[in-house]
Amino acid sequence: MISIWFFIGVSLLVNGVLIMGAGIWDVLYPPENPVVLFSLHANLWWGLALTLSGIVYCVKFAPKRKT
């Protein structure tokens, strides 16, 4: 049975990649009405953190192949 932690890893990974992509886009094309503390680029590093966490969960709890 696939572990719940694997599903969580998938969620973190996909969301992390999407948010990090949005962060990169914001760096390249800064919005006209930026959020407060935009200069910190929170979506970029938060997306990165979620991506790395997602990778760890996906690898550690990946479904094992039957031999």
């Binding site: 599903f7 999407l18 948010i19 914001d26 959020v35 407060v36």
Partner: protein
């Protein structure tokens, strides 16, 4: 939560970018995929209703916590933090931690040993069929109605925050829940609660981090809040020596005994919605560890709920107002503080994650209600009173259909509330009537072998009726609140605490008096159900760091330390 439902501001609070929509849609796809995957693993009653009783301590513990971490709770308590200051934290610390530890170390062994499917099921074993019937019917009825009220509330919030159509929100969310719970049963509900737990932390943790950065740290934040309100907004206990010394109008006795001892114990130890998650644990050690793990994380929740409300007090340029004034003036209300903070700091992507966390919280809350309703209906109402000779397969089938019917009743309730808003107040109040007396009945049943069946039933009934009586009294005559809550300065939340305290005491006194006046039960009937007549199995020969008592001690130390730090 009631306040969230008042007619909202006409303009939406946040605007989603395409990337945000993608994140929301991905969440729906993932939960349906999980439900579909688990479909083949819910074929027996134990699988469907109890998740196979194979959950680890971590899974059961986080699910136990998540069942109470809904979107409305997050937004409501962030709003309360803006309104009452750090006092809102009491509902997460003294209003939860002692009760969770009590459940783990004292009550859980009896729930677990008795192998009951539900809290009403334990009442049948201990106090007989009438007590079970009273508890099961009231729980099932209230749970499904509450689910409908929450459904409408969340649809209303989505309309205010995102500008979504109410019908769209109700049907998309309810159909999704109906599909994944009817396919995978409790296991599916638990899996999605785990997912929700991570989404909420991932989506909400940035707000306090960025907020503290903007405010210049905790010390500067306290100074700014004191300048805009008063110093008591950042002290948890120092203003509770009198009813007038704090923004909530509550005395420390109400906070400790009403909230901490009765209301919290009642909710966390006898509300089947949360207890069901622990009953799914794989062994006695996991069942004891799960509430302790939940307690550990519960202590952290104020950092993503209360802290954003406090930061809002300091950094938001506008002043938020009560819902009634917001409705009349178009200003933002207290309950808007969390979405406002989300919109303040979160750009595209992060905003989608924050909104997804709110949706996930709402949907897993509904799934929790529906799965608990399904179990109580099937095992505590349908099987004993309608069809006691069905096969296991028949009851699983009944569970699947009950899930769908329960969701449809919830949808019907949501539309009823839409037409007659006052119904919502009554439904929410009705739910609170049963919790505190039920705790009195269950805890006496577990700890006092002299409690008899008649004592348990009449105590539960009288406690519940007294709670209804107090609520009706205050509803008809609002000035009666000074008698119920012992002070003319008391406010709504103080009424909840004292109402719980008095109804619990009525339940206990009636149970004791009737029990002493009736014939004692024989010891053979109480084996496995009561302290002193039950051999509680040891958690096994495990190292110290795996013992529930060790972790309960650590949680207790941290609990006291936090209360002293924020005194």
């Amino acid at each position: 939560m009631t306040l969230l439902l008042a007619a909202g501001a006409p303009t939406r609070l946040v605007h989603l970018a395409p990337i945000d929509i993608v994140i929301v849609v991905f969440y729906f796809v993932l939960v349906l995929a999980i439900g579909w995957y688990l479909k083949g693993r819910a074929n027996t009653g134990e699988d469907f209703f109890m998740a196979g009783r194979e959950m680890t301590a971590w899974v059961a513990g986080l699910s136990f916590l998540s069942a109470n971490l809904g979107a409305l709770e997050l937004m409501g308590w962030a709003g309360s933090a803006y309104q009452y200051g750090i006092l809102a934290t009491h509902w997460y610390w003294i209003g939860a931690i002692p009760a969770m530890l009590f459940l783990a170390l004292v009550m859980m062994p009896f729930y677990y040993i008795s192998k009951t499917h539900s809290v009403p099921g334990y009442l049948r074993l201990r106090f007989g069929e009438p007590s079970r019937a009273l508890s099961a019917i009231s729980f099932a009825f209230m749970t499904v109605l509450m689910s409908g009220v929450n459904m409408f509330a969340m649809a209303k919030v989505m309309q205010i925050v995102l500008g979504w159509d109410i019908n769209f929100s109700i049907w998309v969310s309810s159909l999704t829940v109906a599909i994944y719970v009817s396919l995978g049963g409790l296991r599916s509900a638990i899996f999605n609660e785990e997912l929700q737990f991570f989404l909420i932390w991932a989506g909400a943790l940035l707000i306090p981090i960025l907020g503290l950065y903007e405010a210049g740290g905790w010390a500067n934040l306290k100074v700014q809040i004191a300048q805009r309100t008063s110093e008591q907004y950042v002290h948890m206990w120092s203003g509770l020596g009198s009813f007038t010394g704090n923004p909530m109008g509550v005395h420390w006795t109400g906070m400790v005994f009403g909230l901490g001892v009765v209301a919290a114990m009642g909710y966390w130890t006898t509300d089947f919605l949360v207890v069901q998650r622990i009953l799914a644990a794989k062994d006695i050690r996991s069942a004891e560890m799960a509430p302790i793990i939940g307690a550990g994380f519960k202590m952290l929740v104020p950092f993503i709920v209360v802290l954003p409300g406090l930061i809002g007090l300091a950094v938001l340029p506008e002043t938020l107002v009560p819902e009634s004034i917001a409705t009349a003036t178009g200003a933002h209300s207290y309950n808007d503080v969390l979405p406002l903070m989300l919109a303040r700091y979160c750009g595209p992507g992060l905003l989608g994650l924050g909104v997804t966390a709110l949706i996930a919280g709402f949907m897993s809350g509904m799934a929790g209600n529906v799965s608990a309703f399904t179990t109580v209906w099937t095992y505590d109402i349908y099987r004993p009173f309608v069809n006691s000779r069905g096969s296991d397969q028949h009851y699983v089938s009944m569970g699947r259909w009950t899930t769908i019917i329960g969701v449809l009743i919830s949808v019907g309730t949501a539309y009823l509330v839409m037409e007659f808003a006052s119904i919502m107040d009554y439904v929410q109040a009705l739910f609170s009537f049963f919790i505190a007396p039920l705790f009195g009945t269950v805890v006496l049943g577990m700890l006092w072998k002299r409690a008899t069946r008649a004592g348990g039933f009449w105590g539960l009934l009288c406690g519940t009726l007294s709670s209804i009586g107090m609520w009706t009294w205050v509803k008809l005559n609002p000035s009666a609140l000074r008698y119920v809550a012992l002070s003319p300065h008391a406010k709504g939340l103080a009424q909840d605490m004292y109402q719980a305290l008095w109804s619990f005491l009525v339940c206990v006194i009636v149970t004791v008096v009737v029990s002493l006046a009736t014939k004692p039960m024989h010891d053979d009937e109480l084996t496995g159900l009561v302290y002193g007549l039950t051999e509680v199995p040891a958690v096994g020969n495990v190292p110290l760091y795996q013992k529930p008592l060790f972790w309960a001690a650590i949680v207790t130390v941290v609990f006291f330390a936090l209360n002293i730090i924020f005194w």
